[in-house]
């Protein structure tokens, strides 16, 4: 058996993204960056990032803040003349950055992880808990402002303090555990 050649960074990004093959068709036209509502805060526009992926600059790409400033609005995806699933590529890069411990914006990853924690535990999101846990640990200086907002939400009956859970949480947790196992096995290949 031939020794498997480790795939390039570009190949791994393509492989991990549904429809990722289209990345090879990038024209470098810049429609993505021009459409991006949060592009001004990004280290690199998506176009630049794609050329960096092409060039194999794994470290630079995975420590760029760009995917973390993606707001998931899909403006780039629908405007891309080559139909590259840009938003999904940003998701792939986020996942890779977390897996390899390289990310520019730890707050963003922590927000997602805190959110996911509640969903995995109860099957539903829980905003009062999410906001409290995330901000207490990561933005303690924001607590007073957050508290004010919480009080205003409560006064309008928009913030239940008791989380809801689904009935068959065991079923959901088995499914998620299996999905994680499959994903972990793939990463080792």
């Amino acid at each position: 058996m031939k020794a498997a050649k480790r795939s390039t960074f570009y190949e791994r990004v393509v492989e991990a993204t549904p429809g990722g093959k289209l990345l090879g068709q990038c024209l470098q036209c810049g429609s993505c960056g021009g459409s991006c509502p949060s592009g001004a805060d990004m280290d690199h526009t998506p176009r630049a990032l794609f050329e960096m992926i092409n060039a194999g600059l794994e470290d630079e790409v995975l420590s760029s803040n760009t995917p973390w400033y993606c707001v998931s609005c899909y403006a780039c995806t629908t405007r891309c003349p080559q139909q590259i699933p840009i938003t999904d590529i940003m998701y792939t890069l986020k996942e890779m950055a977390i897996q390899s411990g390289r990310y520019e914006h730890p707050g963003a990853a922590k927000f997602s992880e805190t959110f996911i924690g509640f969903v995995e535990q109860r099957g539903r999101s829980f905003e009062a808990g999410l906001a409290t846990r995330y901000h207490l640990f990561h933005h303690p200086q924001q607590v007073v402002k957050l508290g004010m907002m919480g009080v205003n939400m409560l006064r309008r009956n928009r913030l239940p303090l008791r989380p809801k859970s689904i009935r068959e949480i065991d079923q959901l947790q088995s499914i998620l555990a299996e999905a994680k196992a499959i994903a972990a096995k793939e990463r080792r290949i």
């Binding site: 991990a16 939400m153 309008r156 959901l172």
Partner: protein, 317 residues
């Protein structure tokens, strides 16, 4: 008109912070004569958070809902939240489009004794359901209290218009504008109707989000709107709750009420603001009902360009 029953996926937001959306949806359903039956033991769709960092478990999370809906015999699923709509729709679509992905998702589902055949459940947003199944003519007919004189900015946000423009344009959707016209209101020339509200950025990089919120509110106000109308709980939250913070950051003092499209339909159907969940918003919307006039406002005369502007020699009068 139909006496229809729809399998319904409310999503977490409608149970918590966007209860007014749920209340107004149920209220108009009663008047229009359709019933929404909440699907059994649904779970969170993962919002943008789960998909962005944990792809395969995210697909499995969403697919559990699709599989359970299919097992209960549902052929369609009506979803009022844009993010839930996107995730459910995208999972159904991508499982079919990428069989390798579909296989892995089903392998995960099997751990919970479930299986989902992509394409079984037709995922529909509430706006699409109301507009296609009832139609503008029916809504116009049922509008007991036409919204004469009310100027509304139709805000679609992202996730229903994009990435898959299922029932409207990705760039310039008009479904809601047509709805307002049918109900007697006037849609304003609002340009940023599909510009992002900032999504979860309010939690991660607040100034990034506030700048986007500011642009939308300013554009709606400049278009002359009495209120901004959304189809998504996240958009409503950002534009309403964070409007004050955006005002502070940009030294402005906008007070643009942000409504759900179901509340607007409800007002036209003759329901009271209280029945439609008014009062939960941060920017006071109690004045909206009072702005409705009894007769249609006179039509503005179309403006002609001055003679000097015509590309012709000016004739002596």
């Amino acid at each position: 008109m139909s006496d229809r029953t729809y399998p319904y996926y409310p999503g977490c937001s409608l149970q918590h912070r966007s209860h007014a959306y749920e209340v107004s949806t149920r209220a108009i359903a009663k008047v229009l004569g359709f019933e929404l039956v909440e699907m059994d033991d649904w779970n969170c769709c993962g919002a943008t958070e789960y998909f962005s960092v944990n792809r395969l478990p995210a697909y499995a999370l969403v697919a559990r809902n699709l599989a359970r809906a299919a097992d209960s015999g549902a052929k369609e699923l009506v979803v009022p939240c844009s993010a839930c709509y996107l995730n459910l729709h995208k999972t159904d679509k991508n499982m079919g489009l990428y069989p390798a992905l579909g296989e892995k998702v089903n392998k995960a589902l099997a751990a919970g004794h479930l299986h989902y055949e992509p394409g079984t459940v037709h995922v529909r947003h509430l706006l699409e359901t109301v507009l296609t199944d009832f139609g503008l003519d029916t809504l116009k007919e049922r509008a007991r209290r036409p919204l004469y004189g009310l100027k509304l900015a139709a805000y679609y946000g992202c996730l229903v218009a994009r990435p898959d423009a299922v029932f409207d344009s990705t760039e310039q959707p008009t479904a809601m504008d047509e709805l307002f016209t049918a109900l007697g209101a006037e849609p304003t020339p609002f340009r940023l109707k599909t510009f992002c509200c900032g999504g979860h950025m309010t939690q991660i990089s607040e100034t990034t989000a506030l700048e986007m919120i500011h642009k939308i509110i300013k554009n709606a106000a400049d278009s002359g709107a009495d209120a901004l109308v959304t189809i998504c709980p996240m958009c409503q939250l950002n534009l309403d709750v964070y409007q004050g913070y955006a005002n502070r950051l940009f030294d402005t003092n906008y007070e643009m009420p942000v409504l759900y499209f179901t509340q607007v339909i409800g007002l036209a159907l003759g329901l009271s603001p209280k029945e439609l969940g008014f009062g939960q918003e941060f920017v006071d919307a109690s004045g909206i009902a009072a702005k409705i006039q009894d007769v249609p406002p006179p039509r503005a005369k179309p403006e002609r360009r001055s003679k000097q502007a015509l590309p012709m020699p000016i004739m002596p009068e």
